[in-house]
């Protein structure tokens, strides 16, 4: 057990060191959702009327609505950023160092996902603090209760990212992932508009959104942030947690680590 503890500590230590050394990564991760909050939502706030929907108990501004979605955006982009790092690691060979440890590989991969999730959580909380000072109504209790949810859901996104990194052989293919995975995952969710609005426009898109794990990640953050819970959402994200973890572990099984060189 002692070995596993030090191993986990080392992986988290390295991820935090990288985070501290790449300050531009921190600010760019923060600037993206803030631009959406300050500019995009300002433009749309008058165009989009929102009915009272759970977990909100009264009419809310559009800025308030999209905050949980923007937290999700931070987690999603940071997860994909970590996927990019994994591809570089694979190309540079440093990934091999991790995978040749005598410690259980799935444990090592989980630690890697958890370490990235810690970094994502720090960014997400910073964003919530900025949003609070911008005027979004948030409670300290809500933010504190959201931390474990952010951490947990971030692991799901990191696991998907890890799986993607196991499939991609070259860094050049990452642009395609942006277009075919990240953007559809973000836009086909309840991050920017409630699902009932999508249902009004297109039943097909609504069905797609209903299967998108990102929808449930955003909703679990939204509900917890406003001190509500929806048990069915938690069951669903737990299901996606198992699926994502299984995919990540399968992606890094021995025979798939190396391609013929």
């Amino acid at each position: 057990m002692r070995n596993y503890f030090y191993c986990a500590k080392g992986i988290i230590y390295k991820e935090l060191l990288r985070f501290l050394k790449e300050k531009s990564r921190f600010f760019s991760a923060l600037v993206r959702p803030l631009l959406w909050l300050f500019i995009f939502s300002a433009g749309f706030t008058s165009a989009l009327g929102l009915a009272i929907i759970p977990p909100y108990e009264s009419y809310i501004t559009y800025e308030t609505y999209i905050v949980p979605g923007l937290v999700g955006m931070i987690l999603l982009f940071n997860g994909m950023q970590s996927s990019l790092t994994m591809i570089i690691d694979k190309e540079m060979g440093s990934m091999k160092i991790l995978l040749t440890s005598y410690i259980n590989r799935n444990f090592l991969l989980f630690c890697k996902m958890f370490a990235t999730a810690i970094v994502s959580t720090i960014q997400a909380i910073t964003f919530l603090i900025v949003a609070y000072f911008y005027g979004i109504e948030l409670s300290i209790t809500g933010v504190l209760l959201t931390i474990p949810i952010i951490l947990f859901t971030s692991i799901i996104l990191n696991a998907f990212a890890l799986f993607i990194s196991s499939v991609i052989k070259q860094l050049e293919n990452f642009a395609a992932i942006m277009n075919f995975v990240i953007f559809p995952m973000f836009f086909l969710s309840s991050a920017l508009y409630p699902l009932w609005k999508i249902k009004d426009s297109s039943l097909f898109l609504y069905t797609v959104c209903s299967f998108n794990p990102f929808t449930y990640i955003v909703e679990s953050i939204r509900f917890t942030l406003y001190l509500k819970y929806d048990l069915s959402t938690f069951y669903i994200i737990f299901f996606y947690f198992i699926v994502a973890l299984s995919l990540a572990f399968m992606g890094y099984k021995s025979k798939k680590v190396l391609k013929k060189s």
Binding site: R2, N3, Y4, Y6, C7, K9, G10, I11, Y13, K14, L17, R18, K21, E22, M92, G93, S94, K96, I97, L98, L99, T100, S101, Y102, I103, N104, L108, K253, S254, K255, V257, L258, K260, S261
Partner: protein, 245 residues
């Protein structure tokens, strides 16, 4: 009687339908310097990947320190690894890189530095502990990787083309250092290379070509067996290939 530290028996491997290793067998005894010599594409790196569990064993058996490779938590516990490509994190310092690797070996930060204190001094790295890796030259980076592989005092050290890209002095400094450790009985080394000048006559040697082991023994005995003048000629004779081509 010496203990066998690594044993490969009838190991075969294929990528899709292409067979790259054909019933490879050899063994390494404790406190020996064993060279696996072959041209590019001979199958050396595939063997290395099988030994480090980056590839799954398809057929045959591999035993490290008495444990089957499938029992990796025990088999890989006492080995050190140096990869052909650089694997240090350039943005981190030497110390931070060592801490990270030590952690992957289940050691605390304090234990990590304590376990390689002598190695750091012997390889002139103790002054560079807080230097960023990207500021080190190629020779020093390789030395850091050697020291890193010695964390946890492994019984067997696996090195895949560890001197590629280094100047002559750096290459032989590293080789001499490891040979001294072997002579002291501290470690066994599997040195994988395509460079003939890195082999000494007293070294245990296996010549691999197109996935097959063609000769094993000490370098001296193999040269004598095929009645050739030197190792290069012996290699040419055994493989029917010109290594200089």
């Amino acid at each position: 009687m010496k203990i066998t530290i690594l044993e490969l028996e009838n190991v075969s491997h294929s990528y899709d339908k292409e067979m790259v290793l054909k019933k490879v067998s050899f063994s390494i005894e404790e406190a020996s310097f064993f060279v696996l010599l072959g041209l590019n594409g001979a199958g050396k790196s595939t063997i290395f990947s099988l030994l480090t569990r980056l590839l799954n064993l398809q057929s045959g058996s591999i035993k490290i320190n008495g444990y089957m490779i499938q029992n990796y938590s025990k088999a890989l516990k006492d080995i050190g690894i140096v990869f052909q490509e650089p694997t240090l994190d350039l943005d981190l310092t030497v110390r931070q890189n060592l801490y990270y690797y030590g952690a992957l070996k289940g050691l605390s930060f304090k234990e990590t530095i304590a376990s390689i204190k002598d190695e750091l001094t012997n390889l002139d790295l103790d002054e560079k502990l807080d230097t960023k890796v990207q500021k080190l030259n190629g020779g020093h980076r390789r030395r850091v990787e050697i020291v890193r592989s010695l964390i946890n005092k492994p019984k067997l050290l696996l090195l895949d083309e560890a001197t590629v890209g280094l100047d002559l002095k750096s290459r032989f400094d590293i080789l001499d250092y490891l040979r001294r450790k072997v002579q002291k009985g501290e470690i066994s080394v599997l040195w994988i290379t395509h460079l003939f000048d890195e082999v000494q006559e007293s070294d245990s040697l296996a010549i691999i070509h197109k996935g097959e082991i063609l000769a094993t023994g000490t370098a001296e005995s193999i040269i004598a067996e095929y009645k050739q003048a030197d190792l290069t000629q012996t290699f040419r004779y055994v493989t029917r290939e010109n290594p200089d081509a």
